[in-house]
Amino acid sequence: MQEKFQVSNPLVQTPGQVFEKETSVSLELGLPGVAFYYTLDGSTPDESSARYTAPITIQETCTLKALAVANGWLPSDVEVRDFVKAKYRAVDVKLETPIDERYPGQGAKSLIDRASNSTNFHSGHWLGFEATDLTAIVDLGSEVEIKHIIVSCLSATGAWIFRPGQISAEISSDGSNFGVAGEIKLPAQTEADPTKIEFPRLDIATTIGRYVKVTVHNIDVVPDWHHGAGGKSWLFVDEILVS
């Protein structure tokens, strides 16, 4: 009996998965004869989907799903990447929680540099927190209408990195008097979740404000199904977005 093996997932190259107006995506693998098929509407791609021929321009929030196919090999898994359009560009950010020296990123400013494009948590863009929460105050530069707060976080359970349990936000006009804006509980991580950048979104009643204090809650303890059950869980965040 001859075993059959899969093609590896397409390699997604992009300057950023979060953007103000548009971003671009290219797919590659370096395997002779490989073809890529993709969707942007959330449906699962197959060989009847759009065939990739040139870099794709993305102008709205969407999910890219891409498949690699090559003769003699089984199709790849579906590579899934979320892209998020965020209206406001923060001018400053302050961390209320200490940075872990093992995963300092480029300091607090990593959270507003919009360089979210890699699940490599050593890329220098990710801030890591071991069994502690992250609280940061984002300064939007002027008072604006705020409806959505989006956090870019890493889900990579093989590396003990888990989706946050909860995200909460407070909003202020002066940077000192904050009012509660809302909170959202996120679904618990499961064993089947792939390694990817996730963009959980907190929707709030439209609020005018300049400063947004965001707390991203670590689940703190590795869940029971994981081989590290009971240990300290990591939270990795690389962007806080306001729209």
């Binding site: 093996f5 390699l11 693998l29 370096g30 490599n120 990579a156």
Partner: protein, 348 residues
């Protein structure tokens, strides 16, 4: 060498006849209707996926961490399955014997010929110890955590992943899952020196996962240490003085394995797709340049710099060690890959 060249040419010719369209204009290995060939250039292999499959009810494996070949040409596998930590095969994949139930964190396996007799060094990161045994499992010496190094407050900080033995019998141990130090002992197990440690500097590590003695220049053996998180091997003198770094961009390399003029290493996963069963194998030549990958991208140097490597086909999930036997065939042991037995690749 001449025999090797002859065999290679013959094999390439027959492969080209069968799969001419795919091979035209490049040396890339592609899927074959019968049999799968992996690799590039001088190092191409045909997959023998069913080698060494045993009955998991009788002789189970968990993570297959490392392999060596003993003086009797047998294949010795180390797994963290405590029903049988060590499984010994012949080269055809036939089970010969197994032993060991006291190595829950069995991770590093190193063979040393001591006065004509094979001995093994097992690094156990859960026991926080290195254990020297006979080839049939009798314990000869245990190196506990290096309390007198002054680097450790308690045994739990010390998680040794690999050992290497120098020509004079000195024992080098890397604390790859712990504090990233390299311990050097004499053959009696007396601590001589500690170097390395965690950090960004040239002589420091993030995940000093593997170590070997690079004796390709017999007059000038050096210590080669994996810096896995940085996708590098770092070269040191036997006295622990940093010399230089070998870059393997894109590849989370495990321990370096010296065979002939080449370095072979399992790649746990690709930087480009970390966390998704994206491993492969790399082979470096005598100039420490990557000449082939098994299941990975074609190595390409631009202005002397290797373009980042990545997995292209998922033949392997998480390779953790390679063994090259005396017939030039390769065996791949894998971590966290569905308790799969080692995979053999026959050189073509």
């Amino acid at each position: 060498m001449k025999r090797r060249e002859f065999i290679k040419k013959t094999a390439t010719a027959s492969a080209a006849a069968a799969f001419a369209p795919a091979l035209l204009g490049c040396s890339k290995a592609v899927a074959a209707p019968k049999g799968i060939t992996l690799g590039y250039n001088t190092h191409q292999y045909e997959l023998d996926y069913h080698w060494g499959r045993l009955d998991p009810a009788m002789t189970p494996v968990n993570d297959c961490h490392e392999m060596v070949q003993d003086a009797r040409k047998r294949i010795v596998l180390l797994t963290n399955e405590t029903k049988n930590n060590v499984i010994i095969y012949d080269k055809s994949g036939k089970y010969l014997e197994s032993w060991g139930s006291e190595y829950p964190g069995a991770h590093g396996l190193t063979l040393w010929n001591e006065g004509g007799k094979d001995v093994l060094f097992i690094c156990d990161y859960e026991r926080h110890e290195v254990i020297k045994t006979t080839i049939d499992g009798r314990v000869l010496m245990t190196l506990p955590y290096p309390a007198d190094s002054g680097k450790y407050k308690e045994a739990g900080q010390y998680k040794p992943t690999e050992s290497a033995i120098a020509p004079n019998g000195d024992i080098y141990v890397v604390d790859g899952y712990g504090e990233q130090y390299v311990m050097r002992y004499n053959h009696k197990g007396e601590l001589l020196q500690v170097f390395g440690g965690r950090g960004e500097d040239d002589h420091l590590f993030f995940n000093a996962h593997g170590i070997c003695i690079d004796n390709r220049d017999a007059n000038n053996p050096i210590v080669l240490v994996t810096a896995r998180q940085k996708n590098q091997f770092k070269r040191f003198t036997l006295d622990g003085e940093y010399l230089s770094t070998i870059e393997v961009p894109g590849a989370f390399v495990c321990r370096p394995v010296i065979h002939g003029d080449h370095i072979y290493a399992a790649v746990l996963m690709s930087q480009a797709a970390s966390g998704s069963k994206s491993g492969f194998v790399v082979i470096l030549n005598g100039e420490n340049k990557v000449v082939s990958t098994l299941g990975g991208s074609l190595p390409e140097y631009v202005d002397g710099k290797l373009k980042p490597l990545h997995q292209t086909v998922r033949v392997f999930q998480h390779p953790h060690d390679v063994l090259v036997d005396n017939d030039e065939n390769v065996y791949v042991a894998q971590w966290n890959s569905g308790k799969i037995y080692p995979i053999k690749l026959n050189r073509v």
